[in-house]
């Protein structure tokens, strides 16, 4: 008995000591890697407070000296950022709301209501998901021109809402896991298909649809190529498109100004991310990738 108590402590301390060392090494590696991930953002924030003399003389210095606050006002006034924010927010909200409605509707149709040609249509959805969006870029542009939607937000909103095969698949997965008995009970009560969809299916799949909402919002907010070719008036620009103009016009010596503009476009999103980080990370993990 005494031998065991004498024997075992050194053994356990040895292994746990090793373990602690291993865990410590892990933390160190992850922390260094994690710092590489956020260092450019920290650098962006610090640089946006720097004045031109400091940028020229000492690009390596970490902290602003002196702290210059005018970059933000200059950036904000140089281009219509407030307008771009308004545009991006309302476009994103409409795309997310519309996408949730049309994809869950289509998913319910495909999953639970057999109709002639349903399978063939679904196969078309599957196949077209393989086609990169850029393949149809030129014809899409001329289609928008034909409809008269060039330099109009409709060209960004309507197609995004009406074409989202990935969203349809995702919603279909969730709907297929809804017990059919729930629907049957509603049917016996005489509910119409629309009422079943609205009052039985939608509430049941709501948690899963949060993931689709987040992925759709990220894509809509960060979209660049389509706004670039479809919008001409600065007043209609989205945040990323407006920011890209900033580089074209002001990307000279005073990059503190460029970083201030970038910070203005990035920081609100980062705050939104920090608030909802759990849901956002989980959404992207559970649903794989939203085609980016």
């Amino acid at each position: 008995m005494t031998t065991t108590t004498v024997d075992s402590p050194p053994k356990t301390t040895k292994t746990s000591g090793r373990k602690i060392l291993g865990i410590g090494a892990k933390h160190l590696v992850i922390l260094v890697a994690g710092l590489i991930m956020v260092a450019p953002f920290i650098w962006m924030l610090l640089t946006s407070f720097k004045g031109l003399p400091q940028l020229l003389q000492d690009p390596l210095s970490l902290l602003p000296k002196p702290w210059v606050f005018t970059n933000f006002a200059d950036a904000w006034n140089a281009l219509p950022f407030a307008r771009a924010y308004f545009n991006s927010i309302y476009i994103t909200v409409l795309i997310v709301a519309g996408t949730l409605l049309t994809t869950t509707m289509a998913a319910y149709g495909f999953a639970r209501i057999p109709f002639k040609g349903s399978r063939a249509l679904f196969v078309v959805f599957l196949a077209m998901q393989m086609v990169p969006k850029q393949v149809t870029l030129v014809p899409f542009y001329f289609l928008m021109a034909k409809i008269g939607w060039i330099d109009s937000h409709l060209a960004l909103i309507v197609p995004a809402v009406m074409v989202n095969p990935f969203g349809v698949f995702l919603a279909r997965q969730f709907i297929m896991s809804v017990p059919i008995e729930l629907e049957e009970a509603a049917m016996i009560d005489g509910a119409s298909r629309w009422r079943i969809y609205w009052q039985v299916i939608l509430p049941t799949i709501r948690p899963g649809m949060g993931a689709l909402a987040i992925i759709t919002a990220l894509d809509a907010w960060n979209s660049f190529l389509l706004p670039l070719i479809l919008l001409n008036s600065t007043d209609l620009f989205t945040v990323p498109l407006l920011l890209s103009q900033f580089q074209g016009q002001y990307g000279g010596m005073n990059y503190g100004l460029v970083m201030a503009a970038t910070a203005v476009s990035v920081v609100p999103m980062l705050i939104a991310f920090l608030v909802g980080q759990r849901q956002i990370i989980n959404s992207l993990a559970t649903s794989g990738l939203g085609g980016r």
Binding site: K26, I30, M37, W43, S118, V138, V161, P165, Y255, S265
Partner: protein, 310 residues
Amino acid sequence: MSAAAIRPAPPTAAPPARKSWRAGDRRWGMLFVAPQAIGMLLFTLIPFVFAFVLAFTEWNGFGLPRYIGFDNFRDQLTSPLLGRSIINTLIIAVITVPIGLFLAILVATALNKIKGRPFYMVLFFTPVVTSTVAIALIWQQILRPDGVLSDFMSRTLGIPQIDWLGDPRLALLAVCAVTIWSSMGLNIVIFMAGLQNVSPSVLEAAAIDGAGPVSRFFKVILPLLSPIIFYQSVVAFISSLQTFDLVFILVKNAGPDNATRTIVYHIYDLGFAKSQFGISSAASIILLLLTLLITALQFAAQKRFVHYEG
């Protein structure tokens, strides 16, 4: 194949309660699917067919397209610019996919069952939620010849300032590095989800058999993750074939001497900068064929390298 897989159960299997529904149901089904189906037809299928038609024409956007047969394809397949774009795009894919996925698996393995994971995840995920335009602008300033990285290297290593984005040999590598950096978070969460399914008992068994952390990683974790690695490599490869935002902003219009010109940039340049819409469409068809070819190759390779349990 997929049509057979989703063939419905025979109609007799339908519950009796649904029978009374049948008549009106067909209409409901079409009604529910209609918005997405119409959108698919109008905004994807019709432009898709039109892309094939335009690829055989000469058109500057005004008047009527003029049919010229395979001339656009002949022009493009012998075009040094397209060759350059394809090679650059493939280099980006071949560098970023293996390195990016490998680093992500390493970090995901380290993050698995560690304290403070949510905090670390926020660090890795920050670039994922940031727009590529902002990312490109930040890195553009960091990589300036008179910027922070160049200055740091010249002070510590005593080498002259490096123009990362202005040097044709370095610009493409810079694009690759930023791509790996910005897609890390997404790859990590996907592998972490995969690691949840690797049972600890398997790892313990390997440890008892004397496998160290390195051989456990290569001999146990990697094979068990291989289905996810495969899936993610297909997705990452396809998305790197579509690289545009980054080269458009970071390296300012595909960089010095077209050093970072990608296929999508090529399509954009021909169509929207030069108004050669026929040739641009032909290039986009080539992008489509390349995407399909590479995906087919990856699925063929899957049979050899991917380990499926059970």
